[in-house]
């Protein structure tokens, strides 16, 4: 389980490096003042004093969030050349462009904490930093574009809206911008699902098949139950994490089931049932062994995703270097003139 604590991705498993939540007794005057600001809802900014563990936790979480955006372009990139219409292709490209932008906002936020872009990318390419487990699944049909926008971006929105209020200023502000753009992603996906569900029987079957494959991995995006987790408790004390994994997952299920019903599709969970007493849906047990296996690197696409990323970086090196050479040359010319 220690190994699992170290392999983490944004919002799925947070590692603070601490074995218990910091108490008043543990804190220096500086840290106590810092915690008081957090408790008062005051944002922490880049130049403010912060405990090492807070800084490290955020670097890890924000950078892995950024990596998720960039790697998240790959499953959808797979269907750009096979979109059913030019309009769908343009829209999908626009979504993929947005993911690049989201990666940028998040890398920028992480870099305010004193880490360089090169360091972050190196960690990703070496397999040391992770990205969300969901992107290790393959996209097998056009309907997957619908399911991903609807379920994956939908889940991301549920996770990201509370992050707009997190204690670290640059991260919170990046999330505000991301959330504005993410709503288009979810609607674009659901729009695809609606077209398919209202189409031919084959199209509807394709939509159902996509739902069948993406439902459980989407629920896993929120991470395992963290009721007992010290890391989650500390993250909550620092107001990085505002809701538990289970709360967010429940929210996702409750919001999404009626959406599936509207499509006339069946959620692939025989235990799914409205619980009137709770005012929420009861749902079946999640196979966490699959989740941990994907985290370990054994998901369907882990190796391919990383290979593609590393290749893109390596293949682009000549271009990045040429840009620098050009910039240096122009600067020298200007200086000499």
């Amino acid at each position: 389980m220690q190994e699992m604590e170290e392999t983490l991705m944004y919002a799925q498993m947070v590692e603070t490096g601490l074995s218990k939540v910091r108490t008043e007794q543990d804190m220096s005057a500086e840290e106590a003042a810092f915690q008081a600001r957090i408790d008062a809802g005051i944002k922490i900014e880049a130049k403010d004093w912060m405990p090492d563990a807070y800084r490290k936790t955020l670097i890890r979480q924000i950078s892995q969030h950024a990596h998720s955006e960039i790697v998240g372009q790959l499953p959808e990139g797979n269907w750009v050349t096979r979109a059913p219409t030019l309009q769908r292709k343009s829209v999908l490209l626009a979504k993929i462009q947005d993911e690049a932008g989201h990666g940028l906002y998040l890398y920028s936020a992480a870099e305010t904490l004193g880490v360089s872009r090169d360091e972050l990318l190196q960690a990703l390419h070496a397999g040391k930093a992770k990205y969300s487990s969901i992107f290790n699944y393959p996209t097998l049909s056009w309907a997957d574009m619908g399911a991903i926008g609807w379920l994956v971006d939908g889940s991301a929105i549920i996770n990201q809206i509370p992050l707009c209020r997190c204690s670290y200023g640059p991260y919170a502000r990046a999330m505000v911008r991301v959330c504005k753009e993410e709503s288009f992603h979810a609607r674009q996906g659901y729009d695809i699902m609606m077209s398919l569900a209202k189409g031919t029987p084959e199209q509807k079957a394709m939509a159902q098949d996509a739902l069948n494959r993406w439902w459980w991995p989407s629920l896993m995006m929120f991470g395992p139950s963290d009721a007992e987790s010290v890391n989650s408790a500390q993250s909550t004390a620092w107001r990085i994490k505002l809701f538990s994994n289970d709360e967010l997952r429940q929210r996702m299920v409750d919001q999404t089931v009626p959406q599936a019903e509207y499509l006339g599709l069946t959620v692939p969970d025989p235990d799914l049932k409205w619980n009137a007493a709770r005012g929420a849906y009861d749902f079946g047990a999640i196979d966490w062994s699959e989740f941990y296996n994907v985290l370990k690197g054994n998901g369907p696409c882990n190796r391919e995703r990383l290979r593609t990323r590393v290749k893109a970086w390596d293949d682009g090196e000549w271009f990045r270097e040429a840009l620098v050479a050009h910039a240096d040359k122009q600067a020298a010319k200007t200086a000499a003139a």
Binding site: G101, D118, R177, E317, R320, V324, A327
Partner: protein
């Protein structure tokens, strides 16, 4: 390790705006690339009609620790606002 690109801060003025607003940052090897990339990343939704990019290293910011000293004096000078001076109803154009 290849040479890292400098950091630029991006400011955009919207169509109906008067001032450029800080919208974020990016790394680029030179000013031209910074403007092009800023256009690509920060104006996809008609956010603006004008882009400024400034090397982050050239920006000088006030220290958060100096907030009190710098901004407290203005708190007691509310007479800088016209609303501090009520004017008689019958007096126009003031």
């Amino acid at each position: 390790m290849s040479k890292e690109w400098p950091l630029w801060e991006v400011f955009i003025r919207s169509q109906h705006g008067l001032a450029h607003k800080h919208v974020g940052s990016l790394h680029a090897p030179d000013a031209a690339m910074a403007v092009n990339n800023a256009r690509d990343v920060y104006t996809r939704r008609n956010e603006g009609v004008s882009i400024w990019v400034v090397r982050a290293a050239d920006i000088v910011a006030s220290s958060p620790l100096d907030k009190e000293a710098l901004f407290e004096p203005a708190n007691s000078k509310v007479y800088r606002h016209p609303t501090f001076f009520p004017m008689p109803e019958q007096v126009k154009n003031l």
